[in-house]
Symmetry: C2
Subunit: 364 residues, 2 copies
């Protein structure tokens, strides 16, 4: 059964279609194609699995396909330039429509190309990972990485439509699937205690990919994200709550060269660190922090930062994070399960204590 | 005396300050700086002339300066990437402000960097050519060229403020100055017969750079452009009238590798060709077309396409222009002086006749 969540952003509003088999349904794509030209951007892992189904759904359109190698290391300005070259060589024009078939890397690059190809063309997200379905494909953040940090180059640019097919999780590696669950749990922590309870209960079913459980997890995550994005499309304030766990997580990813952890895994660790810091500054009760950690563990996610990263190194890596405003570090802290705050008033010694691995939550 | 024109685009509204000495006035910059970090992007011709004055105006800010080589051939994705590298090496963050000090190339690249550095930061345009003051610095078109065509990569992104200093024309090469007058005349043709009359009368004073005449020419041009942009920020319709003469002009620039003509010169020729085509399809009276040509000539601008470009070659070059919508060529035709229309219904034989150099207007 197909579910629909709408992201309301005036003339940039769009639907998210969630359900098994959605990526093969022509009628979901049709209303969002600007003209007859379509370019599908995918990667060499996903394309062999789902490109044929997608091409069937795109039926009569004049489709060109560009395939990137799979991996975060290809989320670069070079890949961006290669796609631009491809579109121009194939003579795509301002009324082309791009379709991103893949995970966050493909979606973010394709969105950034769409935002800037001839000053903006339409695009459709077909996210094929759990992480992309509940996070990166929704909300219009697009971009590429730079050697100095993630997503340093990009734009806010909304898709015309998101098609989240839950059948794709059957072929998603277990580890990637579980990493996506970290972001699902994040929505409970930042905005919805009942959803957090539900995930805590549904843990086994989620790990087993029970179809109805999955559709609800994706749907509720998208609803929460849509609500936040509707209030603050360009992250001038509230939207920063979506970064709960991410400032720590990004620093860990950067310092391990994006090789040791999947994004969701780094975020899982980052959420525990953010919870730990929240306890240290007196914002969150210890039992709630421990509960966050326990649910992440029950989802087979890592919850401790790598011991080889010194607090100095972490501190510096966090300072270069783009969430720094005019030299001030902004962090998202939990107040309770279901409510977080964004603050620039960080107690330096509490932060140091959290960064020194032997902390309460990881010892406990 | 300082003049002010406002571009009304809701929360993206901004002022244009026009007058002699404006780029040295700190109070014009101050309200538009997001934080203390500022990056000035300029080129190696303009920086030696005006950078010191600008730095004085930026007073207490923490300023880094990046200088490009001068020239359209540097309006590339490579220059864009080099500026991104520079900003990140200097640890600029989301509350930095970019200042573009230069002509259209510097303004367009800087605007595109501002649109996409950490998903968007503020920027100020300080255009130092007539062309940039009346056209490229106003309206939010940003971008870089691609070997396959001009401005193929870019974004719509409005500056926080435009500071148009008329004193800079004293150091602007005569030829570049005159090229800018082509765009000034264009505003008369597309929207304001009285302004056209005024330019026709003021020809000598314009060529002599009479200060008051200049300020009015820039001011009225900016007002007309602002009005069009306010109605159609993202060029879904009306804004296309600003391209009068540009589809022909871009083709000429592309085919001569941007070496033979300045943009305004190519536009001057393009306006005559567009007027010629307008006469051939019965939309414009011959005497009006001839008047457009005569005024351009009086401003010492070229009015005939280069004879070595065959109609086949021109036709193909126009077909690759990004103003083609789903395979259809859109052109702007004049109906009278002061009114133009955008059409996709082009009489193929009339277009061929215009493209065959020996046309009515160039013979007459």
């Amino acid at each position: 059964m197909m579910q629909r969540v709408d992201v309301h952003l005036d003339e940039r509003s769009y639907p998210i279609h969630i359900g098994s088999g959605s990526l093969s349904q022509a009628h979901l794509f049709k209303p969002h194609l600007s003209g007859n030209q379509v370019a599908v951007i995918s990667n060499d892992t996903v394309a062999p699995l789902y490109l044929d189904d997608l091409l069937t759904a795109l039926g009569g359109a004049d489709v060109d396909v560009f395939t990137l190698p799979d991996g975060e290391q290809y989320k670069t300005l070079d890949s961006y330039a290669a796609i631009m070259d491809f579109l121009l060589a194939k003579r795509h024009n301002r009324s082309t429509t791009l379709v991103a078939l893949g995970g966050g890397v493909v979606g973010d690059i394709t969105g950034f190309v769409a935002a800037t190809f001839q000053r903006g063309v339409g695009f459709i997200q077909v996210p094929t990972t759990l992480l992309a379905q509940v996070d990166s494909a929704v909300g219009g953040k697009t971009g590429v990485n730079h050697p100095s940090g993630k997503n340093m180059i990009g734009a806010f640019y909304q898709p015309r439509c998101v098609i989240a097919d839950s059948a794709v999780f059957a072929t998603l590696p277990e580890r990637e699937y579980r990493a996506g669950l970290a972001e699902v749990l994040k929505y409970g922590v930042i905005a919805d205690p009942e959803f957090f309870d539900w995930i805590e209960q549904a843990g086994e079913k989620l790990l087993d990919k029970d179809p109805d459980t999955l559709v609800w997890a994706v749907r509720r995550s998208c609803e929460i994200k849509a609500g936040v994005v509707e209030d603050d499309e360009r992250e001038t304030g509230l939207r920063a709550i979506l970064n709960f766990g991410h400032t720590f997580g990004h620093a860990i990813e950067t310092l391990t060269n994006y090789r040791t952890y999947l994004h969701g895994e780094a975020v899982a660790i980052g959420m525990v660190m953010a919870a730990d810091l929240s306890v240290r500054v007196g914002s969150l009760q210890l039992k709630d922090a421990q509960r966050i950690k326990r649910v992440l563990q029950s989802l087979d996610l890592p919850v401790c930062p790598p011991t080889e990263l010194s607090d100095d190194v972490m501190h510096r890596a966090m300072g270069m994070d783009k969430k720094v405003v005019d030299g001030k570090l902004r962090l998202v802290l939990a107040e309770t399960i279901g409510r977080v705050i964004v603050t620039e008033e960080i107690d330096a010694s509490a932060l140091r204590a959290t960064l020194n691995a032997g902390d309460v939550l990881c010892d406990g």
